[in-house]
Amino acid sequence: MISGLVWRAAGVLAVFVAISRVASASNPIVVEGQGAKYNIFVAGLAGANGGAGTAVLQNDLKLSGDFVLTSADSAQFSVKGSYSGGSLSGSVSTGSREILNRTFSGSWRSATHQFADAIVEAVTGKPGIAGTRVVFVSAHSGAKELYLMDLDGANLRQLTKDGSLSLGPKFNSAGNLIAYTSYKSGYPDVWVIDLGASNRRRVSSYPGLNSGPCFSPDGTRIALTLSKDGNTELYTIAAEGGSAQRLTHTAGAEASPTYSPDGSQIAYVSDDRGSAQIYIMPSSGGACQRFNTSSSYATEPDWSPDGNWLAYSVQTAGQNQIAISEIRSGRQTVLTQSGVNETPTWCRNSRHLIFARGGKLYLLDSKTKQIVQLDNGLARCTEPNASR
């Protein structure tokens, strides 16, 4: 961590020199807003899968938002590595000094993502996102089913094949469980998939609606919308299922709970005052406060892992844009400009968001507003959720 801070300070100084030099020679990546990037050179990785691995690593570093891939001459950081015997040994140096030298195990693809994240952390001191997995809904095959992929769109895996409706998947903090709504029984029930055990079970099947499940950060509870008592309200249940504790008492509809990372609060959507708005309340129930989004229609809040931000979508003129607000100051930034953009989900670095637009998934850098499509080969993709 100390070396990360040191290199970040050195890098910030060096990057301005580097960018002005590179700009005259080739086209720099065009970004909206501010976002310092480091010049990095990736030597071809050696060993079996070296060619494919190099491409994956280079793509990971580009997606991180922290790097511009350059030639060895203009690079501040230089990356080397080789695959052998089911692991990847990688190193990073700047000038003659080595700042990272480690071995990563797992599949070649997983090891490469771990290497990318280690590079990001060594240089910036912040967590990388290459190891992120994304669960989402796709109606590619007709019915809405759940799928899982790596952040870069690879490693696609179909999780459900019910020919029914599967909606709103969300990971737990550990990333091994996924809660979602399924109409498999004919009714909207909440199910939990255990990725490790490759099984699933129904955890909520009260009369009426069971929807929008979200795990508490410690994984012990699930917040969700139920209508069993005669209105659509927020409740929590034990993560394994069980009796429901009611959180809200309004005449309107409540949906989309998201926990603060310390588990003490829940942000959610309510139309109790006439249109869909975001509110925050204690996760054990009690007084709620409206969260001002400067919009008459705000839904789908997602609380950032560092606790400082809410991402959500706002509706204007029939379109939907992705916005974030700093919770303390309420300062809002709208990150997208056109189209129907839905379901923002924070990555673990509290900087990148994944969202859906026109059936495709995108990675959005909240710092630069740069947007990259995460192509997984499927059409009609919605409701992404990122592992933390």
Partner: protein
Amino acid sequence: MNHKSLLLVSLSLALAFGGCSRSIKKTDGTDGATFGDGSESLPNTALADRDSKINPENADYSTLSAYVVYFDFDSFAVKASERPKLEKIAAWLGENAGAKVVLAGHTDSRGTVQYNLALGERRAIATRDYLLGLGVDASRLTTISYGEERPAQQGDNETAWQANRRCATGVIR
């Protein structure tokens, strides 16, 4: 129950309702009949337990298709224009004593998936509450929301949106 526990119950109820509770949703210039029966109380008639013989997928939506209830954008108020349809449904239930119905709430494609699921259910519940007010027994009414997932009409235009903001009544015999 002794007096002390009664006091505790009323205290905790007061605390709960003092929190995130409000008397009535604004109805944006419509007729104000949010709950269908004109009352200002929270809808709180618990839903009947699921009937294991009912699968909403098998409901027959054609028999009562003339009585689909339509809603304004982002509203679950049962409009005056829609109430005669609910009277027809109540009458039909009176004549078909063995039948149960599924009230399926839907939304247009605007807005987002999860909120639309909640709004669709709220529309089904508003419809249910109106029928309860007309004397229909709660055990004959099952609510379900399909949110924006099953539009009656495709398209991103006002005609399609209007057609999709609805509560359809499906018959289970």
